[in-house]
């Protein structure tokens, strides 16, 4: 049994008057991929945005309850979100490289966190990050070209490299393949498989097949509630809940 890296306890999220998450209790295991599935608007993305406190950006958003990472509550007002986000990286639905060079895209994170003091250290970080995200071979000769000139799939891998560059412990992925074609998707999935050796990964996805392929644990959300969570195999073969059964067999969603 793997260690629990992140543990949410009675997590409630409100957008103004509207409640988006209801008492979510979910454990995420270390160096494992957890997939979150469920119909649109069910709160999967809201949940992962709590883990790196991205919801702070939204003025009307209020989060109650605890999220413990290595036993420390990260939903604490006094917690420094900058150092939290250094430990919890994120990859978004639509690739969002900075409109700067490939090199600058990756070196930005290490620079602001004071990692890689010298040019050669930075070069090393950039190279390692690109190698880990399986992009190095494709871009090693054009590091000063803008990141936005890459193809969609490459851009998304660049964003993954950017997330890796600050050496986080957890990587959150919010439907990372929804804007990509099947070939690019396959590459990202391969990459996730590789990355889980080092990082704890949470992936939100609309594709059941993807959840089955990449994850070890799956949580099913519906209308802001965590309906069922368990080993991916079990959830897809023999779910306990009727609603989960209906969703994975395509009866609603």
């Amino acid at each position: 049994m793997s260690n629990v890296k992140i543990k949410s306890k009675n997590l409630n999220v409100y957008y103004g008057d509207k409640q988006a998450l209801f008492d979510v209790n979910l454990d995420l295991n270390e160096k494992e991929v957890t997939a979150l599935i469920g119909p649109s608007g069910c709160g999967k993305s809201t949940f992962i945005r709590c883990i790196n406190r991205m919801n702070d950006v939204i003025d009307i958003c209020k989060v109650t309850g605890n999220i413990e990472m290595d036993g420390i509550n990260i939903n604490d007002k006094d917690l420094d979100v900058v150092s939290l986000r250094e430990r919890v990286g994120m990859v978004f639905q639509k690739p969002n490289p900075f409109p700067k060079s490939i090199y600058d895209n990756i070196s930005y994170g290490p620079k602001i966190h004071g990692k890689g003091e010298t040019k050669s250290e930075l070069d090393q970080i950039v190279e390692n990050s690109l190698k880990k995200s399986a992009l190095w071979e494709e871009v090693k000769d054009r590091l000063d070209e803008p990141g936005t000139s890459l193809s969609g799939g490459q851009q998304q891998r660049l964003c993954i490299a950017r997330a890796i560059s600050v050496n986080p412990e957890v990587i959150l992925m919010d439907e990372p393949c929804s804007a990509l074609d099947p070939i690019a998707t396959a590459k990202i999935e391969e990459l996730i498989d590789e990355l889980k050796k080092t990082y704890t990964i949470v992936i939100v996805t609309h594709s059941m097949a993807q959840a089955v392929r990449v994850s070890q644990k799956t949580g099913f959300f519906h209308l802001g509630k965590l309906i069922e969570v368990g080993k991916t195999e079990k959830i897809f073969k023999n779910p306990d809940n009727k609603m989960t059964q209906d969703y994975i067999t395509g009866r609603f969603g």
Binding site: M54, V82, E86, G89, N96, G109, I112, R162
Partner: protein, 420 residues
Amino acid sequence: MTKEERLKKRHRAEKRFRFYGLTSIFVALLFVVILVQNIFSKGSSAFKKTIITTEVFFDQELLEIQNGASQEEIMEADFYDIMIENLIKAYPAKNRDEEDELLKLFSGDAEIEIKKAFLNDNKLIGKTITLDLTASDDIDQLHKGNYPRDLPEERRRISDFQLVIYDYFVENKKISKNFNNYFFNNGDSRDPELAGIGGALVGSFYSILICLLLAFPVAVLASIYLEEFAPKNKITDFIEININNLAAVPSIVYGLLALQILLATIQLPRSTPLVAGITLALMTLPRIIIPCRASLKAVPPSIREGALAVGASKFQSVFHHVVPLALPGTLSGTIIGLAQALGETAPLILIGMVAFVVDIPSSPIDPSSSLPVQVYLWSESAERGFVEKTSATIMMLLSFLIVMNFIAVYLRQKFEKRWN
């Protein structure tokens, strides 16, 4: 209605709309062409001035200075007699009255022009040189064909005898046109042939410079704060509404404000580019803040999220990513705001920039005019020579505005990043 009929009707509606659109573009272009053509036809002659080629003999007896005199001596010396003696020789006049009429063909600066020739070469005593002296406004306009000579004499500003002299000059090729340096170098003058926009240019330059220095940093910082950092609440909304309202306030109100606060209360010097710059800055501030905020808003939120997600602080995400991307839009908004300020007249009139200022200002606290106010001043003047000067000043003003707008468009097109 059958399907075909309805389809035809839809096609007709589209054709009609295209026709309306084309017509309005055509009409708009027509107006622009008429306006530009009108200004050009009136104004282009102001860039040339009429000169009378005259022989000038520097007679020692008429001068109290010697060859090799110092600058100060020459400046103080009287060249009036030299001028009179030489100018009356330009045409064989028979008596005093005829000489007086002859002298009136030259500009009021003939003495200074002769003095300047001597300043350039202080060993001219005893020598004769040929000088191009500026003609008076009446002759200038006549020579440019702006003045009808077939009017009866009593309705003309030029007498019959002066016409005779003019024809004599033309016949002997003593009269010609060359580049009007006075128009660019001189300040205002009561004499149209000597009046120039030099003072107004410098005044406008100082005003806009002060306006830029005050308005740009304040507007940019205010926009960044309001757009990126300010909490979204009623106070922010209230400020936003009022910025939009301020941008719509008639500029003359800013003039009144400046009159009361800057001139009456703080007692800053009247008619100066300093006061004009502050007034224009107040007026331009909301007009820069609005495009500034728009260009900050146009930076997609995904860029901010991307920066925050790798652990950038709010400040870093704004200043490392959002502001650089919004900069082209910000700069072009600023330039357009300044272009508006450059063309602003009403508030400047209220703070006394309509004063008649001959000297070219050497600092922002010297009394001065500005380009649009100069247009206003000259358009009120009776002399025919000011008509072309007015149009020529408008041409200068328009070309500055066009250049500024071009820079704004260029900045946007060249540096603005596009998404999708």
